[in-house]
């Protein structure tokens, strides 16, 4: 397009140099480019209509099919680094990997919480997708306040097992991604009772579906929750368990242990239970920044192509030349850069903390927790508002799903409530500031 070409000729700096600079640490430009190009080149992408034209079931089926092919291809290409794997799978599936929570929550939790024996038993199975898992914490009546979770796991001496139950309607596990139709295993957070005592929230590995038939196992009710504003492929599910029995060694026991006699021993700091959540929250800050950058890219390019109205010489004006359009879009542009840089710093702090000794990690945990909570809240709420500005700045065409802007805004909208409601997260930051 001649207008875009002219715009590019006007640029006063070396674009590639800026790309390399802005993505210098976390994003590894060259590796990311190579991996995503490999993913986009696969012929599978030419075999279906754009996702917007598929109904819910076709949509889900297409994404599962693509996710399976993507994981096979990734193995063939020898992509083992977890960040690289997520980039490759994300590019392959339009960021709707049917196993994303398996990779980002289920596997890391096993790595962090399992004993050596459990690690040996489950990690390889999980890595090879012989089991597909998700992380079940939130309940129908309980969101951020984890102390109120009602699901119980009661130790039974006679059978050396736990009996897991969701005793009330509000205890129903609700919202976990990839739970509705995909997962056959879950890491389930439940209140542990042993020898008549409540020993707090602990993680349990629970099989929920038959490996051969994918039928829910006895005592398990599982399904997808109602339609959402977006996330058609998120497969968010609900789960009810009625006195489901699991062997004692399926409690993840690195941080706390229950022995054959039902004695409970704490082995590590329970705050580490939330480390997986922290990792997720840090990566969300990057995602929010990238989503805003995408929305801005779409709106600015289109504003360079689109002409409307007329100047006093009777010529149509390029939309991007209107101060009002600049007032809408340039703050979004500057904010995208600001968020990428802020994430970069957050990630640096996070990596430094995680590389420390365990007792130092615990000492620094409140700082990184407060920072990631606050930045997740700010990047999601501001990006959501700004992506809507980008959408509106494209006039009627911005309302089309094919503009890409509708989807971006809805993902950001969801981001304002998942992994912690933004008001609650900002209160966490405020508490930390008071302590400081």
């Amino acid at each position: 397009n001649v207008h875009l070409l002219r715009e590019r000729q006007k640029t006063t700096f070396d674009i590639e140099k800026l790309t390399q600079f802005i993505y210098s640490d976390y994003f590894e430009v060259d590796a990311r480019r190579k991996l995503s190009r490999q993913a986009y080149d696969h012929p599978i992408h030419d075999t279906h209509l754009p996702l917007e034209y598929l109904d819910s079931n076709d949509y889900y089926e297409t994404l599962v099919r693509k996710s399976i092919i993507a994981t096979d291809e990734a193995e063939k290409l020898g992509i083992s680094d977890s960040k690289h794997l997520m980039w490759y799978l994300g590019a392959f599936t339009e960021e709707r990997v049917a196993f994303s929570l398996h990779l980002r929550m289920f596997v890391p939790t096993i790595v962090m919480m399992a004993t050596d024996e459990q690690y040996q038993q489950y990690l390889e199975l999980a890595k090879k997708f012989k089991i597909i898992g998700t992380y079940c914490q939130t309940e129908l009546g309980h969101g951020s306040d984890l102390r109120r979770l009602e699901t119980i796991a009661v130790f039974e001496h006679s059978s050396d097992s736990f009996i897991i139950d969701t005793p009330t309607i509000t205890a129903t596990k609700f919202w976990p991604g990839y739970l509705g139709r995909t997962a056959n295993y879950v890491i389930l957070m439940a209140q542990l009772y042993t020898n008549g005592k409540n020993c707090g929230l602990q993680p349990f590995l629970v099989q929920i579906r038959d490996f051969n038939t994918h039928e829910p196992l006895p005592g398990i009710e599982v399904g997808e929750i109602s339609g959402r504003l977006a996330h058609e492929a998120g497969d968010n599910g609900y789960l009810r368990l009625t006195n489901v029995r699991i062997p004692r060694n399926q409690m993840l026991m690195r941080l706390a242990n229950v022995d054959r006699n039902g004695n409970f021993t704490r082995l590590g700091d329970s705050r580490l239970v939330y480390a997986t959540m922290l990792t997720m929250r840090v990566s969300l800050c990057a995602y929010n920044a990238i989503l805003l950058a995408r929305a801005t890219t779409i709106a600015i390019r289109y504003s360079a192509v689109r002409y409307q109205g007329q100047n006093d010489k009777g010529n149509e004006m390029q939309i991007l030349d209107y101060p009002l359009q600049q007032d809408k879009l340039f703050p979004c542009l500057a904010t995208s850069y600001a968020f990428i840089c802020s994430f970069s710093r957050l990630n640096q702090i996070y990596e430094n903390v995680m590389a420390s000794k365990p007792d130092e990690i615990l000492q620094q945990l409140p700082d990184i927790h407060s920072l990631s909570a606050g930045l997740k809240a700010m990047t999601s709420s501001i990006s959501e508002r700004m992506s809507q500005i980008c959408r509106l700045s494209c006039g009627g065409h911005g309302y089309l799903i094919s503009s890409g802007l509708v989807g971006i805004r809805l993902i950001l909208d969801a981001g304002c409530t998942y992994e912690g409601d933004n008001s609650v997260l900002l209160q966490q930051t405020a508490k930390y500031l008071l302590k400081m």
């Binding site: 006007k10 140099k17 986009y40 007032d327 500057a334 840089c341 900002l426 209160q427």
Partner: protein, 216 residues
């Protein structure tokens, strides 16, 4: 804040600004100095935290409210402070990152973006605090509004280059409006033709329902 008051070492550099002592600025002459923007955001957050700290001490001394009740009662202000702290973090991170750029043309455009971000954030809805703490005067705010427009004009020629630098592949953007080649109208029409509703020239709803109505 109490640690600062007692002269203790702070655990985290992200709240290091609490220890700063400078409070006086001569803003108009400082506008071209980018560090100035970091400083005024830090000063505002520091003042807000200090005021809240003092207020909470007074409440603790004069009432029997529990810390929980006090937190709840002040939660709207506290969340405002948390936002201001995060803005400070974002502004400082942005500035620290861009000041190490070695390429002068890249540095130049990043400086403009940084300043635009700072001025925009300042003008958005937070000016009240800056005025209340006399960090900014009404005249300075007027000056910043003009600066904002100047910055938009400066950034305008590089707008497309700046989004190209995000390096998004067309498949990643997945947008008929934002594709790299700019052939927007062709793409819009092509996508419309793919709509399954256009598979048949006459939609079944017409034959099933409307045709008989028309015959009547």
């Amino acid at each position: 804040y109490q640690q600062c008051e007692n002269g203790e070492e702070l655990i985290s550099p992200t709240v290091a600004y609490l220890k700063e002592t400078a409070t006086i600025f001569s803003p108009i002459s400082n506008i071209s100095n980018l560090e100035y923007y970091c400083k005024i955001f830090e000063l505002r957050a520091r003042r807000l935290i200090k005021d809240m700290y003092t207020k909470l001490l007074e409440i603790a001394a004069s009432t029997s409210q529990s810390p929980y009740e006090t937190f709840l009662e002040n939660s709207i202000e506290l969340v405002h402070i948390a936002r201001c702290h995060m803005e400070t973090f974002i502004i400082r991170s942005f500035y620290d990152k861009i000041k190490v750029t070695s390429d002068s043309s890249v540095q130049n455009i990043l400086n403009q973006l940084f300043e635009l971000f700072a001025v925009y954030t300042l003008l958005q809805n937070q000016t009240y605090d800056f005025v209340k703490f006399t960090i900014l005067s009404a005249d300075t705010i007027e000056l910043l509004k003009k600066r904002y427009q100047q910055l938009c004009t400066k950034i305008r020629p590089n707008a497309v280059g700046l989004v190209d630098a995000f390096d998004f592949h067309d498949k990643e953007l997945n947008s008929v409006l934002g594709q790299y080649d700019g052939d927007v109208y062709e793409a819009l029409l092509e996508r419309a033709r793919l709509n399954p509703s256009n598979k048949t020239k006459i939609h079944p709803a017409w034959n099933n329902n409307l045709l008989s109505l028309m015959k009547e």
